[in-house]
Symmetry: C2
Subunit: 197 residues, 2 copies
């Protein structure tokens, strides 16, 4: 999605060598038309993978996930970062370490929402070290379901998450792959460089 890379280049703010802030269209303010494009692209990439359900984490994963769900015609589950009072027993939980926030948090979903053998597409806004995606994959496996793919809006390739996930055999698709945030500059992998990898 070329429009996504443009938005990152124009509106993204590099806060450090590892933190990119995209609060104007993804993480705080959301651009619905761009999210719809993102949903269409994930649909194109995963439409032949027999996906039954999408799993994401609140809050920033929800917008790209619901548009992907709309275009694939399937439901979206968002994992909660803390337990909610109206959540049933039979929770499936896993833990995520956030390097940004330097804290470990549980994520949880109600076990009723995933069925055995469900083919699940994991969607998230960012992929850094892969902790969040691995925790979601753990929850999918606890339910006896299968991770059919992982769709990422922005991958920070230099943090190694995608390599870690692919080494475990997951099919990972990232819409924008960032090679480096050094010198306060967003450097994307170009298509030709990706071929060389």
């Amino acid at each position: 999605v070329e429009k996504l890379k443009q938005k990152i280049a124009e509106e993204g703010r590099v806060l450090s060598n590892s933190v990119l802030k995209v609060d104007s269209f993804l993480n705080h303010q959301v651009d619905p038309a761009l999210m719809d494009e993102i949903g269409k692209e994930f649909c194109r990439q995963f439409k032949d993978s027999g996906i039954d359900k999408i799993l994401t984490i609140e809050s920033s994963g929800i917008a790209p996930a619901v548009f992907t769900g709309l275009h694939l015609g399937i439901p979206v589950i968002f994992a909660r970062k803390r337990k909610s009072l109206t959540m049933a027993d039979k929770l499936l939980t896993s833990s995520v370490y956030s390097f940004t926030k330097r804290e470990r948090n549980d994520i949880a979903i109600s076990g009723e929402l995933l069925a055995q053998n469900d083919q699940v597409l994991i969607i998230d806004d960012f992929l850094a070290n892969g902790e969040a995606a691995l925790a979601m994959a753990d929850i999918v496996q606890q339910a006896g379901a299968n991770v059919a793919g992982i769709g990422i809006v922005i991958e920070k390739a230099f943090q190694g998450g995608a390599s870690k996930l692919r080494a475990k055999g997951y099919h990972v698709e990232s819409l924008a792959v960032i090679e480096s945030l050094e010198k306060e500059t967003v450097k994307f992998y170009s298509e030709s460089e990706e071929v060389q990898l």
Copy 2:
């Protein structure tokens, strides 16, 4: 939206006289096609109100809000329930008391996202006592912007929030209005009863 009422009747679970659980299509698992219908309906109701921006709160407000934003062609801001490290200074905050969770929480948005005189549509999944909507309205006013309308997916009329908001002059539209949850039954206001109010 008749389909919304059907979903509530079929899948909603009444946990007490005041708590309705709709985790299968709105609060935990999300039905994207239904959210798209909801977005279209809010668009129909507010398209002549000159709206510039939508404001909602994470996490359950995001799905209905982003589809409304898509159909109105405008950005969506979601208020955060706790401060995030990558959030800039210049936060606008307000506090919300949750009767369900019996705790008071701050909500916050970055002051950069709302401009003076912006016409803002507030969207939320539930309206109970009106605390969350009032906190969002407070933030809009702190920014010097104007609340042009409030769109609610499910209103629990017996908790008085809508009356409170209308008494302050706000234009409130609720897609499903629940009169009572007594006897473990969802009782909707019928169209004819609404006229009588």
